[in-house]
């Protein structure tokens, strides 16, 4: 074994310990609720709690709506930029990177200033308005990921030929978009969607400052008041993230996109 190989294995082993130890420790901790022996009591308490169910359901619904609204905004944009407005590509890409530049806490502060109860558009004045604002904020947070995924899908298919073929058959823009383009880039949209879901489901800052009963603030509350349940919730959150990433990997490998290469 040469020096390079020993060095490589040492780096990987040390990193492996650093990354696996918290996962093992969290799992072990989550089993400690009953004194003297390991049990899944913490999980049972968490899943049985009405607060958990309502917070998780709220975030899941917001997540799904976020994905639908995000895809409806991003897909036509990526389509037209690819087909007719290539000059806009630079500015569109630049805008989609903005949520990585502006921290979430700054963005939500801007929302509260702009859409507060004594503004022209007082979204935060009602619970429903706040839900809408939260959802739109999540569309913004997911924009970099959703746009990149959909744009990559759009580049991988022959948008021009598909559109022309559909037009010759008499299809209008909505038909082209919903029945030709979206089915062809389905796996790209879905991988962007699952990444967005993974971000939205446990998000804390926006939900907490807009005062919404979401999963992130619920986690924080449990963390401040309980000992073993937070560990169980961390395991659940980690499994959700893994699930979303696993599906993205699988979508990437299955590659059902209609290829532009002929």
């Amino acid at each position: 074994m040469n020096g390079r190989l020993i060095a490589s294995w040492s780096v990987v082993a040390l990193c492996g310990i650093y990354f696996l130890a918290p996962l093992i420790a969290t799992f072990e901790f989550s089993l400690r609720l009953l004194r003297g022996h390991y049990s899944f009591e913490a999980y049972r308490l968490v899943f049985a709690s009405g607060d958990f169910q309502s917070a998780f359901l709220f975030s899941a619904i917001i997540g799904v709506v976020t994905i639908i609204v995000g895809a409806l905004i991003v897909t036509p944009t990526a389509y037209w930029v690819q087909l007719r407005l290539p000059a806009l590509r630079g500015i569109v890409e630049y805008i989609t990177l903005l949520p990585l530049v502006v921290p979430a806490i700054v963005l939500v502060f801007g929302y509260i200033k702009l859409y507060g109860s004594n503004s022209i558009l007082p979204l935060t004045a009602t619970p429903f308005g706040s839900d809408i604002l939260l959802m739109l904020g999540y569309v913004a947070l997911g924009l970099p990921y959703l746009y990149r995924a959909i744009d990559a899908g759009m580049r991988s298919i022959d948008v021009k030929t598909l559109s022309e073929a559909a037009q010759i058959q008499g299809a209008g823009f909505p038909t082209i978009l919903f029945r030709i383009i979206i089915p062809n880039i389905r796996s790209s949209i879905l991988s962007g969607a699952f990444l967005t879901f993974a971000i939205v489901i446990g998000e804390f800052t926006l939900a907490s400052l807009l005062d919404r009963p979401a999963f992130g603030p619920y986690l924080q509350l449990v963390g401040a008041s309980r000992a073993y349940e937070p560990a169980a919730l961390a395991v659940v959150a980690f499994l959700i993230t893994w699930g979303c990433m696993g599906i993205i990997q699988w979508l990437g490998n299955s590659g059902s996109n209609f290829s532009a290469k002929r």
Partner: protein, 295 residues
């Protein structure tokens, strides 16, 4: 690559161009209302007094000791986690890409990095409490098996060191993800050419690899820095309001106007935006610069 505009004969009639603009209009409306105007409105607010008149007073008042302390602490945590994150993430990516390890390690590392770099926020704080908190598994193992008491040795998870150690959990994988394409771009021929010309391994790294990888590494460190600087959920959940980094101070300000002055809050947000903005734009510029080697 298809190019629609290049063909003058088939240039779309104006009506179709209008349809295209109508198609992208929702995107620009959304971006204006929920990204650009809110951010811009804070920036304007930072330079206004309560009556809406222009002033530099808010920015000047950021220099009061408690706020300066917050900025210093935030900069330290972000710099430390970016520095170590970049160093370790680079070593990890290099080990897997050049290190002669089995081929299956690479996809495993990349998938895991994708998960871990997204595993931030409140659950990450829980995981570290369960690991290195007073009752955490590692703390107990060290005490019971190795007879070493972590907490009497001066370590505390709820401090600067603990927070940095926690941030590394998403910083290291992010670095590995960002730097892997640059490492892949290092062509085998360059090393071979250097070896044929008699260069040592050190000379290869010093005079060939580093000038090409350096800007990528520096750029990625800036990305990590901005990433840590804007993060709040992990720190808030781990330390509560006790570790007063800027995002936590801003959180308290939005919640309950702890600074007793909304415009000072806007200035605080403006300061954050300036720091994350400069580091992100520098990252993008450096990435564009290093991409010319990767064609």
């Amino acid at each position: 690559m298809l190019d629609v505009t290049a063909d003058p004969v088939r240039r779309p009639p104006p009506a179709r161009k209008i349809a295209a603009w109508a198609g992208v209009a929702p995107f620009f409306l959304f971006a204006a209302m929920f990204l650009i105007v809110p951010t811009f409105s804070l920036m304007v607010g930072a330079f206004q007094n309560r009556d809406g008149e222009f002033t530099f007073d808010n920015i000047l008042r950021l220099t009061q000791p408690s706020i300066l302390h917050s900025y210093a602490l935030s900069l330290e945590v972000s710099a430390a986690s970016a520095f170590f994150g970049a160093l370790i993430g680079f070593a990890l990516a290099a080990a897997v890409i050049f290190g002669g390890l089995p081929r299956w390690m690479r996809p495993v590392l990349m998938t895991f990095s994708g998960v871990a770099s997204n595993f931030a926020g409140v659950p990450l704080a829980f995981a570290f409490v369960a690991t290195l908190g007073r009752m955490g598994l590692v703390t107990l193992l060290l005490r019971n098996v190795f007879d070493f008491n972590l907490y009497t040795s001066g370590f505390n998870l709820f401090t600067f060191t603990g927070l940095t150690l926690t941030y590394l959990y998403f910083q290291i994988p992010l670095m590995a993800l960002v730097i892997a394409p640059a490492l892949d771009g290092m062509k085998q021929e360059w090393r071979e050419a250097a070896e044929i010309l008699g260069a040592s391994r050190w000379q290869y790294w010093r005079y060939i690899a580093w000038p090409i990888l350096g800007p990528s590494c520096f750029g990625a460190s800036l990305l990590l820095f901005a990433n840590a600087f804007g993060a709040i959920a992990t720190a808030y959940s781990l330390t509560g309001p006790s570790l007063n980094i800027v995002p936590i101070l801003l959180f308290a300000q939005i919640r309950g106007d702890v600074l007793h002055d909304p415009n000072l809050g806007f200035a605080l947000a403006f300061g954050m935006l300036l720091i994350t903005g400069v580091s992100n734009f520098a990252y993008l510029a450096l990435r564009a610069r290093s991409e010319k080697w990767m064609r």
